[in-house]
Amino acid sequence: MAALSTSSALDMSVRIGSALLKNPIIAASGCYNRGAEYSRVTDISQYGAITLKSVTRQPRLGNEMPRTMSTPAGMLNAIGLQGPGIEYFLKADAPALAHVPTAVIASVAGFTVEEFAYVAERMDGIPNVVALELDVSCPNVDREGECFAAQPSSIAAVVAAVKKRARLPVIAKLMPNVSDLKPIAKAAQEAGADALSLINAVRGIAIDVKNALPLLANVTGGLTGPAIRPIAVHAVWEVASAVTIPLIGMGGIETGRDALEFLFAGAGAVAIGTANFRRPDVHMEVLAGIVAEMRGRGCERVTSLTGLANPRFAGSRSVEAAVARPKTHLEGAHE
């Protein structure tokens, strides 16, 4: 694979469990489909990985329209996990993932612990898929109860069940709508999570004042974009003091500067969602921004930026120290 011209001599690689990504910029779940659409307008190989839309056990049509609404500095969405279900996904979508020019993280969603474990198990062995992200925190589906990421015990149950059945590294995705993220993050780590993604969309509602009605058909939506960035940076900051596994920070990243906030707060990697909608080249700009910062500081490894601003950062900054597992085929994918 060609070295990034901007980053020669710099080591941009990051490790998520056994997966080695060539750079720390990831496309966020639900915002990138399987990459094919964005391939037509940008160079998706410059992403360290792309995360797929969350897949459930059964097919889902999702919520009624309207599903999106623009809001100040962000957008609300309530897609409702529309998707093909795991069987149809494996048949119709998975084979094409072999052609994605970067690593793929598959996202799994479910309504019971067993559903998570089943779908995660079926995701094993798909070409290019290097890790599983568990969407235990989607704000837009009726769970007849609560979200798995709301309680330490329920997130632990999901992570443990998945770890037992899936061989790929597991990333648990947390949401900010809890009073204290630390015990939830700790529970996920103790149950075997290899990394944490934070944050999922923040719950929100917009109301049509003229008609006195909620604007989204689902009433509640998930707020994303720059409006949530400080909330997301705070979540990373908090969790970085509580766990030692790598954190993937996301929420409103549009520039290299924004991504650095997350890295300095304690994230080892970052993901970009909504900003792709506006600027499909956003990942390249973010990467260039991080590279410029590394040059400015004279540091050679992107991992050394992690947690710089956070005195309570508990994780590890060195790639080697995080190596606890066998290398994958992705090893050497960077130069």
């Binding site: 659409e37 037509r40 999702g62 279900g85 149809y88």
Partner: protein, 247 residues
């Protein structure tokens, strides 16, 4: 707007997604109105933030623009009579189609509706292509007093209808076409997120089996008996016989 490639490649009912400079928002989708000589134009109203900013950009300002996007109207077969039915700014979908129908010498009628005489847009450009335009106004200030669909009902039937306009008008047009058994293609609008087919934010309900739908199998406990299609990438053009109007 100047862009050689978009002006050359634009097909009837396609649109562009513009990154309007300013505070954060997703791209603004606008239909491609005219396209020639390395330039294309858009027709828009100041609806809200993005269209207001766009209207006040200085001339010559560079703008990031993705397109042309979306599918296109399919041409009538040899000898078929076509009617273009445009409501308000929906006319934006029709200059390219009218140009192509003219070039193909297809028998074409254009019915153009607006709230009143003052809000009619697009008439001159379409007339310049050599069409007579049948004007309708809601308030009767010019032409036929009533909706474009009422006007279509009162005219001799045609073989293919092409529609674009507000949802209420499209719904009425589809109902008419389906009842009368006339082929009808409509270009639809929704709130867009990505404009590229990745976010599933812009779906419309279509009948199961519609080739533009997801084609997902039906889940065991799913009570809804339709499918969804993305307006941005599977459309914007759908057949009246495929689209469901739920509300």
């Amino acid at each position: 707007m100047r862009d050689e490639r978009i002006a050359r490649d634009a097909r009837a009912a396609q649109y562009v997604a513009l990154d309007v400079p300013g505070t954060f928002s997703v791209r603004l989708p606008l239909g491609i109105w005219t396209a020639r000589d390395g330039e294309f134009s858009v027709l828009f109203q100041e609806w809200g933030d993005r269209t207001r900013r766009l209207a006040h950009l200085p001339i010559g300002e560079p703008l990031s623009c993705i397109g042309p996007l979306g599918n296109q109207f399919s041409a009538p077969s040899e000898g078929q009579r076509a009617t273009i039915v445009a409501g308000g700014l929906g006319v934006a979908a029709f200059w390219l189609l009218a140009r192509d129908l003219k070039a193909a010498r297809a028998h074409t009628t254009i019915v153009l509706g607006a709230r009143s005489k003052l809000s009619i847009v697009g008439r001159d450009e379409l007339a310049a292509l050599g069409f007579d335009i049948d004007i309708c106004t809601d308030d009767g200030s010019e032409g036929f007093h009533g909706s474009v669909v009422d006007r279509v009902r009162s005219r001799p039937p045609s073989d293919v209808l092409y529609g674009c306009g507000p949802p209420g008008m499209l719904r009425a047009l589809c109902r008419y076409a389906n009842e009368a058994g006339v082929e009808c293609q409509i270009s639809m609008e929704e709130n867009f997120g990505c404009s590229l087919g990745t976010c599933w934010g812009c779906v419309v309900p279509v009948r199961r089996g519609c080739p533009q739908g997801t084609g997902y199998p039906k889940a065991p406990r799913e009570i809804r008996d339709y499918d969804f299609a993305r307006v941005c990438a599977d459309g914007t053009v759908f057949r009246a016989s495929d689209v469901l109007w739920l509300h």
